[in-house]
């Protein structure tokens, strides 16, 4: 749990700094954690955040992976 608290802090710092590529990675990490716990709705929230920030940052490969993940859960076109 302390790991998640740290991730939360890093996500807040990422929002504050405007480093969207880094923020995308952090949200993706949060998504994978939730997914591993079987919390799919929560995971898809994080993956969506990660996807949008990857799009914004121009991280094409990451955006494609995240989109594929969301599509597999029926959450994205």
């Amino acid at each position: 749990m302390s790991g998640n608290g740290d991730l939360n802090m890093r996500i807040l710092a990422g929002h504050a700094s405007g480093d969207f590529a880094g923020l995308s990675d952090l949200y993706a990490e949060a998504g994978l954690n939730a997914e591993a716990n079987g919390e799919i709705d929560r995971a898809c929230f994080f993956f969506t955040q990660a996807y949008v920030f990857a799009l914004d940052a121009g991280s094409t490969a990451a955006a494609a992976d995240l989109r594929a993940k969301l599509v597999s859960y029926g959450r994205e076109l």
Binding site: D41, F45, V52, G58, A63, R75, L77
Partner: protein
Amino acid sequence: MKRLNQSELSAVMAPVEKARGLPNAFYTDPELFELEKKTVFEKNWSCIGFGKDIPKPGDARPVTFAGIPLLTVRDRQGQVRVFQNVCRHRGMKLIEEPTTFKSVIRCPYHSWCYELDGALRSTPHVGGVGRNTHPDIDRDGLGLFEVRSKVWMDVIFVNISGDASEFDDYAGHLMERWSEFDGKQVFHGGPNSSLTFEVKCNWKLAVENFCESYHLPWVHPGLNSYSKLEDHYNIVETNAYSGQGTQVYNPQLDATGRRFADFAGLSSKWDAAAEYIALFPNVQLGVHRDHFFVIHLEPLDVGTTREYIEIYYASEDMCGDAMGDLRAAHAAAWNEVFAEDVFVIEGMQQGRHAPAFDGGKFSPVMDTATHCFHHWVAGRFETG
């Protein structure tokens, strides 16, 4: 608003020998200015800026034109596109400052993302948290509102109403006249080749003063040494553009023997000719064998106008450091000319508060270009 009086408009539309100028209200009445936004600026091809300000794919600038928030962006293919600067979701303004999009245009409110061609790419959480689709959200029908646009001579033109004739018809006469310049790659001189003025006059007075040469010996005595009044000719193309030309353009060498390179492949006409033309409504261009300039008139309110003046050269070499001092001197020379015009355009604005002024009496010989512009403006109100 003073009711638009058809007989006053007819007086403007009459042949120049008999015509009156536009009535005072066209320069002083805020309600008429509002009407002008529709009939003059939105229904025609108006200038909103320059391609050089968004040089690379993803570069974007917000522009407000005639009160309408617009977004100009260079897409992945290098084409300039213009959109209304508003998100299809809740109507948030998309950008406030010039920026470079790395991939998508992301709305700052709920992060709907648009491609640079305006297509809606992503709608996060639109179907509930972590659910980015919904049967009632049809992305295909929710792209950004694109505005009809065209880039010519690096000028970004828009037709906001969407129903003007094609740009190539609208500006066809001028494109034909200047076909030797059209399609050439042009190079903006950089920061020292941009001039800006904010003037206390209606935008039309800036057009009117630009397109006539009658004032040159009085207002620009310094130009007279190489550009005498009798060397000038009027340019009048009814319902399209007007201006003036000179037959004695002769760029001088500087003290170290340098001058700007000429555009390639020009005919001998341009050895000594230069032309200054107002393409209605709000752009003015001057072409010379070794440079051209464009003036974008931004009407801020009925009595205030901002002028953006941009100078371009024929090759990249002209825009490097080695020519920097020459470009600076060149821009300073033009700046002096434009600065000399400020008191007359502002003085004419003040004159238009004199209630007895009836639009004025044109010189049938010297004022044909000015009358051509008035005729065009009056015609927009007759048909609009």
